[in-house]
């Protein structure tokens, strides 16, 4: 068996890190922004909106990420062009939006009832009550689970390799096709994903801890 060419492997995988991280960050931010209105629809009193929100979440989470990648890359080429990076970003954002919307939804429903009662007794209008009292707390509560979800997103981003985005997984596969030993190359790539997830995990823990101390006060 041939030896691992460390220089080549690290160079190629290093070149893939930018794609992996970029994809993950953009899809995460997109999901954090777009997930909120979806969550609002999910918890709306208006049945039609609730239906749309629920349908979005169930469908987007019910279809595998790889299938989203292929559907958008091959199916929507007329609409968004043939750049796999754009297709992968859209696909990942669509899915992230659904998952993060569920975090927002759970968070909004878990704002303590006392907060509602206090706001009502202070004479806030319904709009003020929601936007000044409930929404800020809901968003904050949703931060910790969403940060944890970001780790999942980092791993899901590897499916972009299937449509040809030169991320870490793609670089690893290409390296093995050009003669690098498979076991070692994929192990290095796996280790890089693990390393990348460490700071996200640390951030998630920090947010979670801060939230707990704050709510204890």
């Amino acid at each position: 068996m041939n030896q691992l060419d460390w220089g080549r492997v690290l160079e190629a995988i290093g070149a893939g890190i930018g794609y992996t991280v970029g994809l993950t960050v953009i899809a995460f931010l997109g999901g954090m922004i777009l997930g909120f209105p979806v969550a609002l629809m999910r918890v709306s009193r208006i049945r039609a909106l609730r239906w749309i929100g629920t349908a979005y979440v169930e469908i987007c989470r019910g279809v595998p990420v790889v299938a989203w990648m292929l559907l958008i890359f091959y199916g929507l080429a007329d609409l968004i062009g043939t750049d796999p990076l754009i297709a992968a970003t859209v696909a990942l954002t669509v899915v992230a939006t659904a998952y993060i919307a569920e975090n927002y939804r759970a968070a909004l429903l878990h704002v303590p009832l006392g907060q509602w009662e206090a706001a009502v007794s202070l004479g806030l209008t319904r709009r003020q009550l929601f936007w000044r009292v409930i929404a800020p707390q809901g968003v904050t509560i949703a931060l910790a689970p969403s940060a944890t979800y970001a780790i999942g997103l980092l791993k899901e981003s590897a499916f972009a390799a299937v449509i040809g985005v030169s991320d870490i997984a793609f670089q690893a596969r290409t390296l093995t096709q050009s003669g690098q030993p498979g076991l070692a190359t994929f192990a290095v790539a796996g280790a890089v994903y693990l390393l990348l997830s460490l700071p996200i995990a640390a951030a998630a823990r920090t947010i979670d801890r801060r939230m707990r101390t704050r709510s204890a006060m």
Binding site: V66, W68, F159, A169
Partner: protein, 217 residues
Amino acid sequence: MEFVTDHLPTLLGGLRTSAWLALISIVLGLPCGLLLGLMATSSLAVVRWATLVVVEVFRGIPMLLLVYFVYFGLPGAGLSLAAETALVVSLVVSAAAYTSEIFRAGLLGVARGHREAARSLGLTGFQELRHIVLPQALRAVRLPIISFSVLIFQYTSVGFAIGIPELLSRSYAIGSVTFNYLGVFVLAGVLYATVAIAASGLMHLVRRDRAPQVLPF
């Protein structure tokens, strides 16, 4: 419409393959997950730590990379597997790692008093596990286990990357012949989502204490 009737049988055949791969992986993966969960709650610190390290490593690696590792990497170590076997092995390993965390939480959730009562009644360690701990722990984890099983089903779509004729591969094959990628992937998406939504409905039936579904105004 004709497109649907022409290709639905092929896709349903693919769905059957996906479902089989998922079923085998779940049947093999859950007992492994339970075993790892028991090891993660072992009274021996060495066993506990070793298990947690293994679990974290396999949870931290993207599914695609794990499949690449098993299918393209292991032959370098003299172990060549058929694509289906490679996918099932990857799914089992991954399912074991992920569900061990679910089982661990379930096991730790069993009230300490119940264990102490079992001990003071003179039950052996195995009897305590079999009659006191497991019935409660397994009941507590049934919902997350169902929802993880759906994820396993979704991850069978990684079979596309290594040429297994499951639902996604067959959809792609139809797309590349008819050039109606959008149509065929939407159809595949409907099939995937149907399975997920059916499972989600099942979970609603199983769950008795339903959280509030709408904001209180």
